[in-house]
């Protein structure tokens, strides 16, 4: 009995033209594109309407024990804070993380798509995909949508056979390998703290504290960053969430309010 599995094809919308998969290279899923004479102008207006959540601080670095990834959790639309609890560290699979900066929907969708591609690679090749390979998959997809208005500034951090790996990938099609990155409107502040305190041979606790501190200082000075500072560690056994602290509380932890000396205390006046 032949089962009809056409409904399981997920790449294209139900009624749309099927996207051909040629020679194992998966074509980018085909999106409907509006019929306008001025595509760029329309996209500019559409983006104004959607106003994707921007303003963020994310960072990642490699050290002796593995990789550390940290991010804030604020999403702002213009001057309005649309959410204080956005997950900006996306779990692609148990040993790879991606960070989100730029358009929230773009990052969420393409990271999930990347997770699917990594799983397909595992099934086809009977081994895990490398961080190099995963970041290349994402970069190639984003490059093919270059100029269409996607906004993605992400870091792919993971542990593979060659040890810890860290790549920066963005929607312009750029892909950089490196030891330390910070992305977002709060990144200058985070770089200041991160570059100052970084040593290759730190322990996991020291590295986590450095990452947490860098995010805290960025949220302190950047209005578009805030919420909860999440810190993840990526080691040989995969990633593990180390901490999630409200940055308001971190402030008083780092700079506790000291009781000041009082010269003269006011005394309660007797009720008239």
């Amino acid at each position: 009995m032949k089962l009809d599995t056409s409904g399981l094809e997920s790449a294209a919308p139900v009624w749309g033209a099927p996207s051909e998969l040629v020679d194992g290279f998966s074509a980018a899923p085909s999106f409907e594109v509006p019929n306008t004479t001025d595509f760029d102008g329309f996209q500019k207006e559409a983006i104004q309407m959607v106003k994707p959540a921007k303003g963020t601080t994310t960072l990642a670095f490699i050290f002796k024990e593995g990789a550390m990834v940290a991010a804030d959790s604020r999403a702002s639309m213009g001057g309005y804070i649309s959410s204080q609890s956005v997950k900006k560290i996306i779990e692609i699979n148990p040993y790879m993380l991606g960070t989100m900066a730029g358009g929230a929907a773009d990052c969420q969708f393409w990271h999930r798509n990347l997770g699917i591609k990594c799983r397909l690679h595992e099934l086809a090749n009977k081994r895990r995909i490398s961080v190099t390979g995963a970041s290349k998959l994402l970069a190639n997809i984003l490059y093919s949508y270059r100029g269409m208005g996607l906004s993605v500034g992400t870091m792919i951090a993971g542990w593979d056979e060659t040890g810890p790996g860290l790549y920066y990938v963005d929607s312009e099609g750029g892909r950089l390998k490196g030891m330390r990155f910070s992305v977002g409107s709060g990144s200058p502040y985070a770089y200041g703290v991160l570059d100052n305190g970084y040593r290759y041979d730190m322990s996991v606790e020291e590295a986590a504290e450095l990452a947490r501190r860098a995010i805290y200082h960025a949220t302190f000075r950047d209005g578009a960053s805030g919420g909860v500072a999440s810190v993840y560690y990526v080691g040989p056994n995969g990633w593990k969430k180390i901490s999630g602290d409200d940055v308001g509380e971190l402030h008083y932890k780092y700079y506790p309010v000291l009781p000041s000396t009082v010269e003269q205390e006011m005394v309660e006046a007797a009720a008239a």
């Binding site: 999106f31 409907e32 994707p52």
Partner: protein, 223 residues
């Protein structure tokens, strides 16, 4: 010579506000029933709430034509799912479907700001909040639409739940009981109607519980 620009936009904003609150064993979804265009009211009795599955309800504000098209898309995909899996979609699955459906129109978006509410597999209330292109988040409460900047700070004040990102993990659902949550929603819309011209006329409240779906109405200011 300056380029000729189109004077016609495919989008319009029909206004309105939606709210959803998740509880321990219930979920409240509410929206006003006013549909406007510019300074005109098109109708006072338009429902922005749509039942997508047995335990899953969506409220959407924005451009209602896009909302109607989106609801039809989701209903069709849900029917296919039921044929293939012999069961209804649960709320988290529907949440992912809605996100993907919105993102497939990334370059010609649905002008629709949605909140999805219902019960998850364990019977706990869950609320998902979306932007127009599909980025979503599971939260304890949310509001979208023209009155959301007025409503959200009040909900934050009354319901502020610990962020799901904190470690150790803390529960996001509100400790309120169903009757208190419904009262809160009524209060919130009464206040929003005072200061938002696009919110008013009538309030439609849908409550999802293990026993099913209950609908309630309340009059709001008609000016």
């Amino acid at each position: 010579m300056t380029k000729q620009q189109a004077n016609w936009s495919p989008y319009d904003n029909n206004g309105g506000s939606c709210v959803a609150i998740a509880g321990a064993d219930y979920c409240v979804i509410a929206a006003d029933t006013r549909m406007s265009t510019g300074y005109n009211i098109l109708t006072r009795e338009y429902s922005k709430i749509c039942k997508l599955a047995d335990k899953c309800v969506m409220a959407s504000s924005g451009f209602q034509a896009d909302v109607k098209a989106l609801q039809k898309q989701l209903a069709a995909r849900h029917l296919i799912y039921q044929h293939q899996h012999n069961k209804q979609m649960n709320c988290p699955a529907m949440a992912q479907l809605l996100s993907n459906t919105l993102y497939y129109k990334r370059f010609f978006p649905y002008y629709s700001f949605n909140v999805l509410g219902g019960l998850d597999n364990e019977g706990k209330g869950c609320v998902f909040t979306y932007d127009a292109v599909g980025s979503y988040e599971k939260v304890g409460y949310s509001s979208q639409g023209s009155g959301s900047t007025l409503i959200m700070p009040f909900l934050d004040n009354q319901l502020k739940s610990p962020s799901p990102l904190l470690l150790p993990v803390q529960d996001a659902v509100t400790p309120l009981v169903e009757a208190e949550a419904v009262n809160l929603v009524k209060t919130v819309f009464a206040s929003a109607s005072e200061r938002d011209i696009y919110t008013g006329d009538k309030l439609e409240i849908v409550v999802v519980t293990a026993d099913g779906i209950r609908r309630e109405y309340m009059e709001l200011r008609k000016d």
